[in-house]
């Protein structure tokens, strides 16, 4: 994996947003968003439903054009199908009769978007898929039908699927949702290892910061078109959040957890980056 030539001797930032603005009709989702995420950084994106967390991922994936400003991923303008991006969707149980084995699901993450049969380089492909499966401890069920694996096992495969292509940026859309605590820990540990070992930047959309709080370098908090970007210590304070929400909000630290009081817990949301086409949605 070779990146673009470094400008003035520095590695390009993994993600850069300058003056980024998205509007839906008359409604401005967010505007003048400036953001620079260096390699290896773990950024949590927080905010209530409808604040544009998922839209931010769509922008980085090149699926949603900006109304103003620019977006660079790994030094290049974001574009649909761009290389160097891994994507972990919300955990959703895969249909039991889905005609894929674990290794097929991971393999699609490597070259599923390429045309042709890919008969050349089969050996190298198999090697990379095996390595990705082993890295998440899924080698044991590599040949099992994905639909018959547990939610935790499926989400490990999702991480392997996102990492097999050696991405420089990993985008995660609520990847811990509906996983139990043990699996939440496993999945966040796998993501954390990756960014430490390979310098992959992580953009982690979540409604609940606590499971990943020890890993988070910076937080992007979106509320009603307003935003704050900074370390958890800077952003997750009563003062900052009260300003963002324009109401009295209190942030309490209870043991190692942050508890935000005064705003309605957004709870589980189920906005996907894309609606599943009916063709395969069962």
């Amino acid at each position: 994996m070779t990146g673009p030539p470094p400008v003035d001797g520095r590695e390009p930032a993994a993600v850069t947003l300058r003056g980024a603005t998205v509007r839906f009709g008359a409604r401005t989702l967010w505007e003048e968003l400036d953001l620079e995420i260096p390699r290896g950084e773990f950024v949590a994106v927080l905010g209530p439903n409808g604040s544009g967390k998922t839209t931010l991922l769509r922008v980085l994936l090149g699926l949603q054009p900006l109304d103003a400003g620019e977006v660079l991923v790994d030094g290049h303008p974001a574009r649909r199908g761009g290389e160097g991006i891994g994507y972990v969707p919300q955990q959703k149980a895969l249909p039991e009769d889905l005609p894929l084995r674990a290794r097929d699901l991971v393999g699609l993450g490597l070259d599923g978007h390429h045309l042709g049969l890919g008969l050349r380089g089969r050996r190298e492909r198999n090697r990379r898929v095996d390595a990705a499966l082993d890295a998440v401890g899924a080698g044991r069920y590599a040949r099992s039908p994905v639909g018959r694996l547990s939610g935790g096992e499926q989400q490990r495969l999702r991480v392997a699927q996102a990492l097999v292509g050696d991405p420089r940026v990993l985008l995660c859309d609520e990847p811990l949702l509906s996983l139990d605590l043990a699996h939440q820990r496993t999945v966040s540990r796998l993501i954390d290892e990756r960014r430490r070992n390979a310098g992959t930047a992580v953009v982690f959309v979540t409604h609940e910061i606590n499971p990943v709080l020890p890993l988070v370098d910076r937080v992007l908090y979106l509320v009603d078109g307003r935003f704050r970007f900074g370390t958890p210590e800077e952003v997750m304070t009563s003062e900052t959040l009260s300003e963002l929400y324009r109401t009295d909000v209190e942030v309490l630290r209870v043991r190692e957890r942050l508890v935000v009081v005064g705003v309605e817990e957004s709870g589980h949301h189920h906005d996907a980056v894309v609606p599943a086409p009916g063709g395969a949605a069962r």
């Binding site: 090149g62 049969l117 086409p277 009916g278």
Partner: protein, 292 residues
């Protein structure tokens, strides 16, 4: 001890399963054409079937085949080539179904509406057709004599076209069919692949109509895929297995239908169905796919 009933039953069995003269018939050019056509159809149908099943498109395929029947009936009445009419009807239906909304329920109802109308229209067109009745019946149940060398040439061209297209789009199509959310995120043009695949299905359907008949197109475009899915989750193995089942059903059904001189569609559907049963039993025994 032979009651008249047994005698009748034996007669029917004898009529259904007879190989008297099969050897002579196999030497006939028209039989060779039919066998070649069956083999080509088995290849393309087997390649498409697992994806049709994965995308839950069984009903759409059925609707497409009924519209191929409508198109064929219209062509018969107008005095143009039945194949051309069938292709026109099924491609039109395929495009409509391929562009349909995203929700399963909406798709089901629209397909049902179009299918019912198309079938009704087809029956009316056939009733207006003054020619021989066997031509009419052939569209519904298939007929071995309908395969001439012109059909065969078209079949070869379409087979190559469909296989070449599949070779190019197979990976993104599999991605879009099994994991649409991540496929879109990775830039797969899911909305473009859907009508494209529908047109491929329509072409194969239109080819299958003269051979197995509109009513039984499902037997070669669904059953092999459904059967393979019972025993394997590997897309490659499923495709190979579906091709084998489709070939055995189509070629085997053609051979078995020769001596009795009955429509091949019944034989094809029965062999395919037996293949499905065997796969279900194997799948259950191996615990590969849980039954719900």
């Amino acid at each position: 001890m032979n009651s008249p009933m047994d005698a009748t039953a034996n007669d029917v069995l004898g009529k259904l399963f007879s190989l008297d003269g099969t050897g002579d018939l196999l030497a006939q050019p028209f039989v060779r054409n039919a066998l070649l056509a069956a083999a080509l159809l088995g290849l393309v149908a087997g390649v498409l079937a697992p994806l049709i099943v994965a995308r839950g498109m069984g009903f759409a395929v059925h609707g497409t085949s009924e519209l191929a029947f409508t198109g064929g009936a219209a062509a018969l009445l107008l005095g143009v080539s039945v194949s051309v009419g069938a292709v026109a009807g099924s491609v039109l239906a395929g495009l409509v179904f391929g562009l349909l909304g995203l929700r399963q329920r909406e798709r089901d109802s629209v397909i049902g509406v179009v299918l019912a109308f198309g079938l009704g229209l087809g029956v009316l067109l056939l009733a207006l057709y003054p020619g021989r009745a066997s031509n009419k019946f052939g569209l519904l149940t298939g007929s071995i004599v309908s395969v001439d060398s012109t059909n065969l040439q078209v079949l070869v061209v379409v087979t190559i076209l469909v296989l070449a297209t599949m070779a190019v789009i197979y990976r993104p199509l599999l991605f879009a069919s099994t994991d649409p959310e991540v496929a879109v995120a990775r830039g797969v043009p899911v909305r473009l692949l859907s009508p494209l695949f529908a047109v491929l299905i329509a072409l194969v359907t239109a080819l299958a109509v003269p051979i197995v008949g509109a009513i039984l197109v499902l037997s070669v475009t669904i059953i092999p895929g459904a059967a393979a899915a019972r025993v394997t989750a590997s897309p490659v193995v499923a495709t190979v297995l579906a091709v084998v089942i489709a070939e055995v059903a189509l070629v085997g059904g053609t051979v078995l239908s020769l001596a009795p001189g009955l429509p091949i569609s019944g034989y094809v559907a029965t062999i395919a169905f037996l293949g499905y049963l065997v796969c279900r039993i194997i799948g259950r025994a191996r615990g590969q796919v849980r039954t719900g």
